[in-house]
């Protein structure tokens, strides 16, 4: 397919990897923020193409993985009400809450439906005036404009039976929190190309300046990622810290203004809890007061839910790039995509699931060794 296959050319990938190797003289730790990029890296074995000096660690950019347990529990509680239709992106159904997941709630009779496009949830509300339709609106900046459009359409049409359970996260505050952490090892970032397609690049200039860390906006194909890595390595080796855009075919400096406009109309920035990581100030979105009539958190009282993560899941360290999924003692043993203990094992963009799908065999020696533990 045009603009996909070209960027999967193995010959170019090898040439880029050779170029990276020719430039590297010392170890560097780089982080790709987005789970979609993690998936490409694992699927195409990009980390294996790289010289030993370049270590890739995987960031928190999987919205399914960082949606708080409390939100999942709330969605399950709401879905279980007879008058409710809960609509969600498909990835969310198997994410474990503290006791169950939406998939099990559905199996037990809850009306849980999957939407590909958030405005499908608005259509469901129009077609079911006697039911309350709740859309589980999760995502990063990439998804926020589409989710905002669903709220905007519902308000325009005066729908009284539609609301959103919002759990939105923003990338730049997460990078800021990672860089400010005393455990941080990351020396350069690949910024998420589709988030920047919407938001543009300006927010990342401030991070480059404040932390003197190079950031390259990168795409999602193997060649994109290798080119972004090459750009980071060249900057690091030259002692530079600049913002560069590798993904020019989709990302402009100002981003998508109509999309930013609808986001700002519907949402405002708020403190947000990230699953596994904890609260990060001003790192999420909530509905504005003018959309209070569409805010499931205000309409439905499900009480305060406070729950703890399963103790053995080290997803907090995985999502911050401090540990690899294979460092988790239950990885591929008690935690598998069929039976995930933590969210990063659910979504194909979660680091644990990406390692499970593409790297399980590489660690089978470890599994064998563990049998004798």
């Amino acid at each position: 397919m045009k603009y996909l296959d070209e960027y999967r050319d193995a010959r170019i990938a090898r040439a880029l990897a050779a170029d990276i190797a020719a430039h590297v003289t010392q170890p560097w730790v780089l982080m790709e923020i987005c789970g979609g990029q993690t998936h490409t890296i694992m699927r195409y074995g990009i980390d294996d193409l790289l010289p030993r000096e370049v270590e890739l660690v995987h960031g928190p950019g999987c919205p399914v993985c960082v949606t708080p347990l409390e939100t999942i529990d709330k969605a399950i509680a709401l879905a279980s009400r007879a008058d409710v239709i809960l609509v969600s992106y498909g990835d969310m159904l198997r994410v474990p809450g503290s006791h169950s997941d939406l998939f099990h709630a559905k199996a037990q009779g809850a009306d849980v439906r999957i939407a590909y496009d958030p405005t499908e949830a608005v259509k469901i509300a129009r077609l079911n005036p006697g039911r309350k339709v709740i859309f589980l609106a999760i995502g990063f900046e990439t998804t926020a404009p589409a989710n905002a459009m669903a709220a905007w359409q519902a308000k325009r049409d005066g729908l009284r039976n539609f609301s959103l359970l919002v759990s939105h996260v923003l990338v730049p505050p997460a990078i800021r929190a990672l860089m400010a952490s005393e455990n941080n090892r990351v020396q350069g970032f690949i910024a998420p190309g589709h988030v920047c397609t919407v938001m543009g690049c300006a927010e990342y200039e401030a991070l480059v300046r404040d932390f003197r860390v190079p950031i390259v906006v990168g795409g999602f194909e193997p060649v994109d990622l290798l080119e972004a890595i090459l750009m980071l390595v060249k900057q690091l080796e030259a002692g530079e810290a600049r913002l560069q855009n590798q993904y020019v075919r989709s990302v402009s400096y100002t981003g998508n203004l109509p999309a930013q406009h609808i986001m700002a109309e519907v949402f405002e920035v708020a403190d947000q809890k990230w699953r596994g990581i904890g609260a990060i100030p001003q790192s999420g979105l909530r509905l504005r007061e003018s959309y209070a009539a569409y805010d499931a958190n205000l309409i439905f009282d499900v009480g305060e839910i406070i729950v703890d993560e399963p103790a053995e899941c080290i997803s907090a360290q995985v999502l911050q790039g401090l540990k690899k999924p294979t460092d988790c003692p239950v990885f591929a043993m008690r935690c598998t995509p069929e039976n995930p203990l933590g969210a990063p094992m659910v979504s194909t963009e979660g680091a644990c699931a990406a390692y499970y799908h593409y790297r399980r065999h590489a660690v089978s020696g470890k599994e064998g060794a563990r049998d004798h533990d």
Partner: protein, 85 residues
């Protein structure tokens, strides 16, 4: 979740008060909202995420990047094979 894929605009449609398009992704054709990329024309490539076009693929830039990169690949192909350690 943040994946967006490039597709080719086959036809522009007016749906409700909005603009939408029939967009082709490989063998699949879907309806896509053009609310955020109103300038898209038939024949353009758009990046699509959860049913919404979020950018017009800059064709000149995409072709230029690819050309630069494939020359790099060509160059590599003309060199003797790398030592297999």
């Amino acid at each position: 979740m943040c994946l967006a894929i490039p597709g080719k605009v086959l036809e522009i449609q007016a749906v409700e008060p909005m603009r939408a398009a029939r967009v082709q992704f490989g063998g699949i054709i879907r309806q896509v909202s053009l609310d955020f990329v109103p300038e898209a024309k038939v024949g353009d490539y758009v990046m699509v995420h959860v049913g919404f076009a979020i950018s017009l693929v800059d064709a000149a830039e995409a072709d230029r990047t690819y050309k630069v990169l494939s020359e790099l690949g060509m160059l590599e192909a003309e060199l003797p094979p790398a030592d297999s350690e």
